[in-house]
């Protein structure tokens, strides 16, 4: 059984309140950091832990903190990216809902390490309940002296604010988030300069995901060495995985990085296998933006070894036979699911969410969506697959921000691995539009209670 660092107390009644959270050892890391460590020592601990950003890119968090420019007389900011909106990913929302003080605690430690006097939690606008939960938690922490002026008598001041976003997926991109936080249209900025040099209001800023910030708490509490002992290779610590799709037990799981994917998928501790006794057809391992893999490639790496839930193992084989850890949005597809429909659905999302600044993303995502739509509805051509691959190549790597890549990879990988199914949609147009191939799933997106756990 994996160790629980973030979700250890998630089922304790009242853990969302300051008193219960404190009784369970909450805010120890704040006391330790502010009273016994210097900011540089906190940064060093995070570096030594090997923690990688849990938002999707997997960049080492300590290194990111180390890049922060520290000019005299200029404020610095820590901004928490709680704009979670990748289809298939719902772990941050879970943390914020059930154990909000863990995030607040991480924010205080992180802000102290970076020398930030004002920090923000940027939450997706639709998550109004979570915004209220966080605001209440902040008020409680402030009343207890963990926020505001002279925290715990150490002389450190910090104001923490929750900022609702406008509800656009692009605002999860760190520079678009900063634009939105400044009250402007959420368009990604052209980098460089990176936020570590010129971020919020032109000042040095670090933007971290909710889970990354929460993970700082056990790192400081137990020490970087303890944290780094968990995991495998450069994938250290635990990771929250939001499992969905056709698994028997969808939900948010905390796993030790390096857990075999087979164990994650089939053991009763985690997903419990595929629902309704069906067979696994494909997996999206890290949220909708990462390449989809057929079941056989997902289980084994390019070398034929068992695939592990780690950044390196999931990426083994590149995009030919590998994928990415991404944000941990794990979606399993059973044998009845239609890959064409799923790909169209993903592309529809990216088309809708493109900000429209750069031409390949603005026009290309719409183009792909229209081609996939006609394929799904029986008007496709055999040449459409090559067209889609070519258009996705024209988008990939040529855009201002990674949304272009996120739109291109699912399409390119679906055709790479499931070309037969796309061709079947062309050669059997009538059947493709009338059969039950995936339609049942999308016609009724709410799972029936008895189907949740078979």
């Amino acid at each position: 059984m994996g160790r629980k660092l973030l979700l250890e107390h998630i089922n304790v009644p009242g853990i969302n309140t300051f008193d219960v959270y404190r009784q369970k050892g909450g805010y120890r890391s704040v006391e330790k950091a502010l009273k016994t460590l210097t900011p540089e020592e906190v940064v060093e601990e995070v570096k030594k832990s090997g923690l990688r950003g849990r938002g999707g890119a997997g960049f080492p968090t300590g290194m990111k903190w180390g890049f922060l420019a520290k000019p005299e007389g200029v404020p610095r900011y820590l901004v928490c990216n709680a704009d979670e909106s990748e289809p298939g990913t719902f772990k941050d929302r879970y943390l914020m809902t059930y154990i909000p003080h863990l995030l607040i605690e991480g924010m205080i430690v992180g802000s102290f390490a970076l020398g930030a006097k004002t920090s923000y939690i940027y939450v997706r606008g639709e998550m109004m309940p979570q915004i209220r939960i966080l605001e209440k938690a902040i008020a409680e922490a402030k009343a207890a002296g963990f926020l505001g002026k002279n925290i715990l008598g150490t002389g450190y001041d910090l104001e923490l604010y929750v900022q609702p976003g406008g509800g656009a997926y692009i605002c999860g991109e760190e520079t678009a988030l900063l634009e939105s936080l400044e009250g402007k249209r959420g368009n990604p900025r052209i980098k460089p300069p990176f936020p570590a040099i010129a971020g919020l209001y032109g000042c040095p800023t670090v933007v971290n995901n909710v889970e990354s910030i929460a993970a700082v708490v056990p790192i400081i509490n137990d020490g970087a060495e303890e944290y780094a002992k968990i995991g495998i290779g450069r994938s250290t610590g635990t990771k929250l995985i939001s499992a969905g799709g056709n698994v028997r037990k969808p939900g948010v799981y905390e796993i030790d990085l390096g857990l075999p994917v087979e164990e994650f998928l089939y053991s009763d501790e985690y997903c419990g296998g595929i629902a309704n006794g069906k067979r696994l057809k494909a997996v999206v391992a890290g949220g909708s933006s990462v390449p989809i893999l057929p079941a056989n490639l997902f289980m084994k790496t390019a070398n034929g070894e068992a695939r592990l839930m780690s950044y390196e193992s999931l990426a083994d084989g590149g995009f030919v036979s590998g994928t990415m850890m991404g944000s941990g949005g794990f979606i399993a597809y059973d044998e009845d699911q239609c890959i064409v429909r799923n790909t169209w659905n993903f592309t529809r999302f990216y088309h809708h969410e493109s900000c429209g600044q750069c031409s390949p993303c603005r026009e290309g995502t719409g183009w792909m969506e229209k081609v996939l739509h006609r394929l799904e509805y029986g008007h496709g051509k055999m040449s459409d697959m090559d067209l889609l691959v070519d258009v996705s190549k024209k988008i990939e790597g040529n855009t201002i921000c990674p949304l272009g890549d996120a739109a291109a990879w699912p399409v390119a990988s679906a055709i790479r691995h499931f070309r037969d199914e796309f061709e079947w949609h062309v050669s059997h147009a009538h059947e493709a539009t009338t059969h039950n191939f995936g339609l049942a799933h999308y016609a009724d997106p709410l799972p029936k209670p008895e189907e949740k756990v078979a």
Binding site: G356, C358, R362, E363, G366, N398, T399, I400
Partner: protein, 336 residues
């Protein structure tokens, strides 16, 4: 030791000031290695990086860190490093990506050059000619819009807009009030004015000059003539406006001034913005001090009917020896 940075573009080395972008370094060299730019505008702060036509390959980052950059970069927003090596027209990857960008841009930009007022002066027309395919693979409906008059002098035809944001930057930076911007997102984005407002200020006409395609047009010139039938002449006047120096190009047809524009450099960028009075209200020769014919590149379609072209005399046409001596002029005359 020189403080300048040495950068090599397509094998041609040049030393430039630190902070210079790859695009501007290429412009200092000039010629075919200059990447095209649809959204970058040197006079507008913060412009560039959006259209992706200026993508280049950095095959060597710098002397200190010679690793190549993993992706193509927007040359207009990437500053040079000492020892950087860049591939533009020598990179098949860049040419392929640029073809892709042109194809994307032409999805929602109609090739209605025969009826477009910008024909002959259109950056996208040139880009499409150099990088575009003769046939598009896009088979779906294009987006269309009704033309709208934003003020009494400017017409916006969003159907042609490629969302380069230049006019938005112009309105932001050289006028006192911002009355138009971008609505919606993705391919639903559109340039529009604030509800029921017109773009109406002393410098609003400059949005016409910065538009790289024919989305924003001059209502005082619209459909009056084709640009290659007009004669561009440099002129100036003592303008009352404190921010306008009154240096313009007059576009003549016979004795009549059909339109007035700001003067543009060899990259099609306005040298100095002009006020609306000069642009829209001064259409008589007597309003201006004529400086002389505007020099037009031989490559430009505007040179097709250039008035200062010296036509070979009839005797040259009949004498092979004189034909040889006047080869260039003879070829031009024959071509025209």
């Amino acid at each position: 030791m020189s403080d300048k940075h040495k950068v090599t573009i397509d094998g041609i080395a040049i030393e430039v000031e630190p902070g210079t972008s790859i695009l501007n370094a290429a412009r200092l060299i000039g010629g075919d290695i200059v990447p095209p730019a649809m959204c970058y505008y040197s006079k507008l702060e913060g412009s560039g990086g959006k259209c992706r036509t200026c993508l280049v390959q950095v095959s060597k980052g710098s002397e200190k860190d010679p690793r190549p950059m993993p992706k193509l970069v927007a040359s207009c927003r990437t500053t040079v490093m000492d020892g950087m090596e860049v591939k533009n027209i020598t990179s098949p990857e860049v040419i392929e990506a640029r073809k892709g960008v042109v194809e994307m841009l032409l999805i929602n930009h109609p090739l209605d050059c025969p009826i477009c007022d910008q024909a002959g002066e259109c950056d996208l027309q040139n880009l499409g000619y150099e990088h575009g395919a003769a046939k598009t693979r896009y088979e779906f409906d294009r987006r269309t819009f009704e033309k709208i008059d934003i003020g009494d002098k400017i017409q916006l035809h969003m159907t042609r807009c490629i969302l380069c944001y230049r006019c938005v930057f112009t309105a932001d930076q050289i006028t006192n009030t911002r009355l138009h911007g971008i609505l919606n997102r993705g391919d639903h984005s559109e340039i529009s004015t604030y509800i029921s407002k017109a773009v109406d200020n002393d410098f609003s006409g400059n949005v016409i000059d910065v538009c790289p395609v024919g989305a924003l047009t001059d209502r005082t010139f619209r459909f009056k003539n084709r640009v290659w039938f007009t004669k561009p002449v440099e002129a100036h006047r003592d303008c009352d406006h404190e921010k306008c120096n009154g240096k313009v190009t007059l576009w003549y047809k016979g004795e009549e001034v059909l339109r007035v524009t700001a003067r543009k450099d060899e990259y099609g960028e306005v040298e100095e913005f002009i006020c609306n009075t000069c642009r829209f209200d001064k259409k008589k020769t007597s309003d201006w001090v004529i400086e002389g014919p505007r020099k037009v590149s031989h490559k430009s379609v505007i040179s097709a009917n250039h008035y200062d072209t010296l036509k070979p005399l009839p005797v040259v046409k009949t004498n092979p020896l004189l034909q040889g001596a006047n080869k260039e002029q003879f070829e031009r005359d024959t071509r025209l």
